[in-house]
């Protein structure tokens, strides 16, 4: 289901240039690091990590190969051993994502997503702004409930369908929805792999997310919708005209059908409720914190596979995005090496000597750094490396608000560039395949930066405000 952007067409000489640049930078880091403050293991860990970052930037379609080889380098140089690898690979996070992907497969089969799309296209008194705003909210909420990549796949299909009927260029509307999906993905721990990773590292519960990130996300979402609707007002006027024309000819946007949605809705609600009640259940059964959170999707998907046993293998083999999950596993392990070799504690030390140990300076700083970082590399990479730093800081400062700063920085920063988050890449891939249109880097950057600044400022103010209330 998850669509992958095919190997981008870059020439061999370009590939070689990038390869040398990658090796050059990562070796320079090793040499400089070794000759200054790092020992050999630390510098190898740093250089492999930087190679992975550059690898995903330069050779997106080779990222898994680079991660595999990087892991081997770490093992050969004694920077990482197998038990430590297993420990930092974040298997519970991976299993959580596997479980959610299987649930998504079942929801698709049961017509839940079909129902959402059908509801949107057949809404009464439809107008361009109403349609796009509803779609944007739906994409954000779907991202909260399942995950951002799933959300954007279904929402993009809706936009393509409508734009096909109206003979419109879908690019502006795809951009609006992707931006809103990324904002929405910060709302819960299911929204983005970053959420569940931060949640497990910081020991945050689903309720914490509902109290902290969900309301902040809602405000950011409204701001993002308003910003993008204003930015694309001319396109929306054209949309409105064509829509009115079509409606006046008594033609709809889709055939009128009643989609059976109840089963799918029940499955989704039960899954979300189960995940939401994890903290209560853990207390009740005196289980370790977040243990139910991590296995709740597995229980749900287990039940689904029991009921739909003829589809179980299909769900596991086709609905689970093993490619990405394997990449995450290795990424977590490689970022874990930075922790084991104490690179992160060194960085935390520098961090607090440079900017002090005040929440008020650390919140915007972490947001800013993680936003810029996630704009250019996969935000999971960035967060995986940043989490241990925040853990180290906890000795000198109350880091609770810093986790939210990291989460919002990473999720909202993904909006800045077209390669900032997986959802962007997936949506652009679909746009190229379906509508044969490309979005230029700077075309995205303009609205991306604008919406990121607006939402980041709001998130900053709200985190600082809520922090006062919480203390």
């Amino acid at each position: 289901m998850h669509e992958e952007e095919g190997g981008s067409n870059i020439s061999t000489s370009m590939m070689l240039k990038r390869l040398f640049l990658l090796l050059g930078i990562s070796l320079t880091v090793t040499i400089v690091g070794y000759n200054t403050i790092l020992d050999i293991k630390q510098s190898v860990a740093c250089s492999v990590f930087i190679a992975i970052i550059l690898g995903t930037l330069f050779f997106w379609s080779f990222r898994l190969a680079i991660a595999f080889i990087g892991l081997a380098v770490l093992i050969f140089t004694h920077s990482l051993n197998i038990p430590k690898f297993v420990e930092s690979a974040a298997l519970p996070v991976i299993l959580f994502l596997v479980g959610m992907m299987i649930v998504v497969g079942a929801l698709r089969d049961l017509g839940f997503f079909t129902w959402v799309v059908q509801m949107i296209v057949s809404m009464p008194k439809i107008s361009a702004r109403k349609f796009i705003a509803t779609t944007a909210v739906a994409s954000a909420l779907l991202a909260c409930a399942v995950d951002e990549v799933t959300s954007i796949i279904f929402i993009s299909t809706l936009i393509f369908q409508v734009c096909d009927r109206l003979k419109l260029n879908p690019s502006p509307y795809i951009i609006i929805c992707v931006l809103c999906t990324n904002v929405g993905s910060a709302g819960t721990m299911m929204g983005n792999p970053v959420g569940i990773f931060v949640g497990t590292r910081a020991g945050l519960t689903f309720e914490d997310f509902m109290i902290w990130s969900f309301p902040i996300m809602l405000v950011c979402l409204m701001a993002c919708i308003v910003t993008t609707l204003l930015y694309y007002r001319k396109d929306l006027d054209e949309f409105d005209e064509k829509l009115k024309d079509r409606l006046s000819r008594d033609l709809g946007l889709a055939p009128k059908i009643d989609v059976p949605y109840k089963q799918g809705l029940v499955v989704l609600i039960l899954t979300v409720l189960f995940i939401a009640s994890h903290h209560q259940l853990e207390k009740l059964l005196s289980l370790e914190k977040n243990s139910i959170l991590l296995i709740a999707p597995l229980i749900c998907s287990g039940l689904i596979m029991l009921f739909k046993h003829d589809r179980a293998r299909y769900y596991v083999e086709r609905e689970v995005d093993w490619w990405t999950l394997l990449f995450f596993m290795l990424l977590f392990a490689i970022a874990g090496t930075l922790e084991h070799t104490h690179v992160t504690s060194l960085m935390a030390e520098k961090f607090s000597t440079v900017c002090g140990a005040s929440q008020l300076t650390l919140i915007p700083l972490i947001m800013f750094v993680s936003a810029i970082g996630s704009a250019f590399v996969d935000n999971v990479i960035f967060v995986a490396a940043f989490c241990p730093i925040i853990e180290e800081l906890s000795s000198s400062v109350n880091v609770f608000p810093l986790w939210w700063a990291l989460l919002f920085g990473a999720c909202l920063g993904g909006n800045i560039t077209m390669i900032g988050s997986t959802a962007n890449i997936v949506a652009l891939g679909m746009l190229e395949k379906r509508a044969k249109t490309h979005i230029r880097f700077f075309e995205w950057l303009k609205i991306g930066v604008l919406s990121a600044i607006v939402t980041l400022l709001i998130a900053w103010v709200l985190i600082v405000g809520l922090r006062v209330e919480a203390t």
Binding site: R108, D109, L110, G111, F113, T114, V117, Q118, F154, T157, L158, F160, Q161, D164, K167, L251, G252, A254, P255, K256, I257, D258, V259, P260, R311, K436
Partner: protein
């Protein structure tokens, strides 16, 4: 392989040429040529072979170019191809609706070499792409004159292997242009037993393809296809809108651009593989990027396994 050096006319003996066929209709002409061939080759039953070729001719007329017919059959009794040629000044009616046939090339190929007839036909088609050859042969007064004309014009070697060019259909291709509408496509699908139609422009550049499924897909939007089981949706009136504006809907709005195409030089075995792997029924054959012909799965099966 001996056919490497051979050309089509090498298979024709002077004794197997008849200048001035008596019959004015195809079956009679076939019988005449069959008896000439069988009288020169012991052990062949003329009437049996003639009826075999006539049966085949009834199903698919073998006129491969205006005025040129190649009635043929595969038989067990021979080890190498046998060819007879007959000409007719007045022309013979081959019941294909086209011009009267002036040259009949009667071909028997051994069953043990199942693709030789396609290789022969391929060389023959290329020989006759030069219309001067057709003129000279049909004007010939004696078998030796005819063979001399054939020998001096015929340059094409019998190919070692078959390519897309040899198995594709070149003439009478059914295509649509971008200005056609959905209703044109629906009419063809509904009445002609055709599943896929290439869309080409005036320069023979291929713009896309439309298949029966594309029409179906138009009425079943993609978000419905996400569901595993559509049987709970009982009341479904998807076609109303489709019928409402089929005359307005341009082909370009529904055609696919992900058609499968091969170059004329691609070997037949690769074409066969594409049919299996890509699960298509029609492969577009291109020459320097332009439409040269099409290979339909049904025609492929017929040519290789049935003819």
């Amino acid at each position: 392989m001996e056919s490497k050096k051979l050309q089509f006319h090498d298979f024709v003996a002077v004794g197997n040429v008849l200048c001035g066929l008596k019959s004015r209709e195809s079956f009679g002409a076939i019988s005449e040529l069959s008896s000439v061939l069988c009288s020169n080759n012991a052990g062949l039953d003329s009437s049996e072979i003639a009826s075999l070729v006539i049966e085949r001719e009834k199903l698919f007329p073998t006129v491969i170019a205006p005025g040129l017919a190649v009635p043929r059959a595969r038989i067990e009794e021979i080890n190498s191809p046998l060819v007879a040629i007959g000409t007719s000044r007045e022309g013979i009616d081959f019941k294909d609706g086209g011009a009267p046939v002036k040259i009949v090339i009667f071909v028997l190929t051994p069953k043990s070499d199942p693709s030789i007839h396609l290789q022969l036909l391929s060389a023959l088609a290329r020989d006759f792409s030069d219309t001067a050859l057709f003129e000279k042969m049909s004007q010939s007064r004696s078998p030796s004159e005819l063979l001399e004309a054939f020998g001096s014009h015929s340059l094409e070697k019998i190919p070692d292997y078959l390519t897309a060019r040899d198995i594709m259909r070149k003439n009478g291709l059914l295509t649509l242009s971008e200005s056609n509408t959905l209703s044109d496509a629906i009419r063809i699908f509904a009445t002609q037993g055709i599943f896929d139609i290439p869309i080409v422009d005036e320069d023979k550049d291929i713009r896309g393809m439309i298949s029966m499924e594309d029409v179906m897909r138009l009425s079943l939007p993609e978000h419905l296809l996400w569901m595993d089981d559509l049987s709970p949706i009982l009341r479904f009136q998807p076609f109303a809108e489709l019928l409402k504006n089929e005359k307005e809907t341009k082909i370009t709005d529904i055609m696919r651009e992900d058609f499968v195409s091969v170059d004329v030089s691609v070997p037949a075995v690769q074409v066969a593989k594409i049919f299996i792997v890509k699960k298509v029924r029609l492969i577009i054959v291109t020459e320097s990027g332009k439409l040269a012909g099409t290979v339909r799965l049904q025609e492929f099966i017929r040519k290789f396994f049935w003819e």
